[in-house]
């Protein structure tokens, strides 16, 4: 059995199915031409280094300059840990358990905290289901398998949820009157 499975791996960097980073999302959108965005996404992919540098600067600026509570700092850290690297497997999302537990540590739940918890809960749901309707290569069904090179719901939805978290944290922090650290 060992011999049969050796050599099974390889090229996992191209496995869109398991890649929940920003790059995975962009390649998935390009692959499926979701919402007719292929052209725009191709431009972003061609300038990906620039995008990552800008995103990293935004991350550092947000963490240093904006008034965030501890759970939000860890939440934002986990978001950028997931988004910035080229290939993010789903187990990297275990970092979101840290802000989740920090939120649970508090005695009361604000609406904002419940919003964070809800988005983290959506991140934790399994989403390895095919996105495509092409019946020849991969079927849009739980009961049938599809290629690892094809995008899944995870490769689209998880990065989107992480971006959403970053936007919510950034927006609410900007609207806060004064530092609370």
């Amino acid at each position: 059995m060992k011999d049969a499975i050796l050599g099974f791996r390889g090229g996992e960097r191209n496995w869109l199915r398991y890649n929940v980073s920003l790059k995975g999302m962009l390649y998935s959108i390009q692959h499926e031409n979701l919402f007719g965005l292929r052209g725009a996404v191709e431009w972003v992919i061609n300038h990906y280094l620039l995008v990552i540098v800008v995103l990293a600067c935004v991350a550092v600026f947000t963490l240093i300059r904006l008034p965030l509570v501890l759970s939000e700092q860890f939440l934002l850290g986990a978001v950028f840990c997931g988004l910035l690297v080229d290939y993010t497997s789903s187990y990297v999302l275990t970092l979101f358990l840290v802000p989740l537990l920090l939120i649970l540590k508090r005695d009361s739940f604000t609406k904002l905290n419940i919003c964070y918890l809800a988005i983290i809960a959506f991140l934790m749901i399994p989403k390895g289901i095919s996105l495509s309707n092409d019946p020849e290569n991969h079927a849009n069904s739980i009961s049938t398998t599809f290629s690892d090179h094809m995008p899944s719901f995870a490769s689209i939805v998880n990065p989107f949820l992480m971006l959403l978290l970053a936007i919510i944290i950034g927006t609410t922090a900007i609207m806060r009157p004064k530092p609370i650290i």
């Binding site: 059995m1 060992k2 011999d3 499975i5 050796l6 050599g7 099974f8 791996r9 390889g10 199915r17 398991y18 991350a59 550092v60 963490l63 240093i64 300059r65 965030l68 501890l70 700092q73 860890f74 850290g77 950028f80 840990c81 910035l84 690297v85 497997s89 789903s90 187990y91 990297v92 999302l93 275990t94 970092l95 979101f96 358990l97 840290v98 802000p99 989740l100 537990l101 920090l102 649970l104 540590k105 508090r106 005695d107 009361s108 739940f109 918890l117 991140l123 934790m124 749901i125 399994p126 989403k127 390895g128 289901i129 069904s141 739980i142 009961s143 049938t144 398998t145 599809f146 650290i181």
Partner: protein, 257 residues
């Protein structure tokens, strides 16, 4: 579900404090939710394991990767016999590489040098049996998680609630299932980040173990460095530089071993 449960716990705590008899039935609701969620955990794990062993490929892969994926870039003699179908590929890969003379010069490795230094202790255990190696690895992880959860949450929750949080929140999360299936080093990274969060949440100035933990996590995977930028926000420059120093020293000095 977890939020409803914790709200119930909170209400129940308030009810106990105020000796309000009308709220006491919440305990039954708590137990019901705990039981319901516990069955959910068992159901998810059962579906995962059954689908893997019956080769119902798509269901197992919704939750994780191929369980039968052995590390491809290590000597075949190093790979132990699997547990059922499971090779715990990432664990076996790092441990096998850690026993090489110069694992850091091997282009097929994915980790920083300190990963191999840390995981070298598991080699004799894994060499005896994968059961022992992986069991020891997970036992250390589970005990650390229980300890950290207890430290972090004991001020706001009881033992029952903490146990339920551990069971519901950690036990049902797909990333955790995937992490256990792969035996990835991310478990150590997450625990180190959790430890630093625990230290940072303390109000007193205290020690600098949090910066040390983030530094080791950075040396293991690189990207946890981003958590160190909060020190700059809090004007704790010594901690920031301690993290960067630890990250770089651990990642580079282990080349010497």
């Amino acid at each position: 579900m977890a939020i409803i449960f914790l709200n119930c716990c909170q209400e129940n705590k308030d009810a106990t404090k105020n000796i309000d008899a009308s709220r006491l039935p919440n305990r039954s609701l708590q137990l019901y939710l705990a039981l319901y969620s516990g069955l959910g955990v068992i159901a998810i794990w059962s579906i995962f394991l059954i689908s893997e062993y019956w080769h119902i490929d798509s269901i197992g892969k919704i939750l994780s990767f191929y369980p039968s994926d052995a590390p491809g870039s290590v000597a075949i003699t190093c790979i132990p016999d699997p547990i059922g179908l499971h090779y715990f590929g990432d664990f076996v890969s790092v441990v096998c590489h850690s026993n090489l003379g110069s694992p850091y010069l091997d282009t097929s490795t994915n980790y920083f040098p300190v990963a191999y230094l840390l995981m070298k202790i598991f080699y004799p255990l894994m060499h005896a049996s994968l059961w022992i190696g992986i069991g020891f690895f997970y036992s250390m992880g589970a005990l650390s998680l229980i300890y950290l959860l207890n430290k972090l949450l004991k001020s706001s929750m009881g033992v029952f609630e903490i146990g339920t949080v551990l069971f519901i929140v950690v036990g049902t999360a797909q990333p955790v299932i995937s992490l256990i299936d792969r035996g990835n080093l991310q478990m150590i990274v997450t625990l180190l980040v959790l430890f630093s969060a625990l230290e940072m949440s303390k109000t007193s100035e205290g020690n600098r173990y949090d910066a040390l933990a983030i530094g080791i996590a950075t040396a293991l995977k690189g990207y946890p460095l981003i958590f160190a930028f909060r020190y700059l926000a809090a004007r704790e420059y010594k901690r920031f530089f301690l993290t960067v120093f630890c990250g770089s020293i651990y990642a580079s000095c282990t080349y010497e071993f």
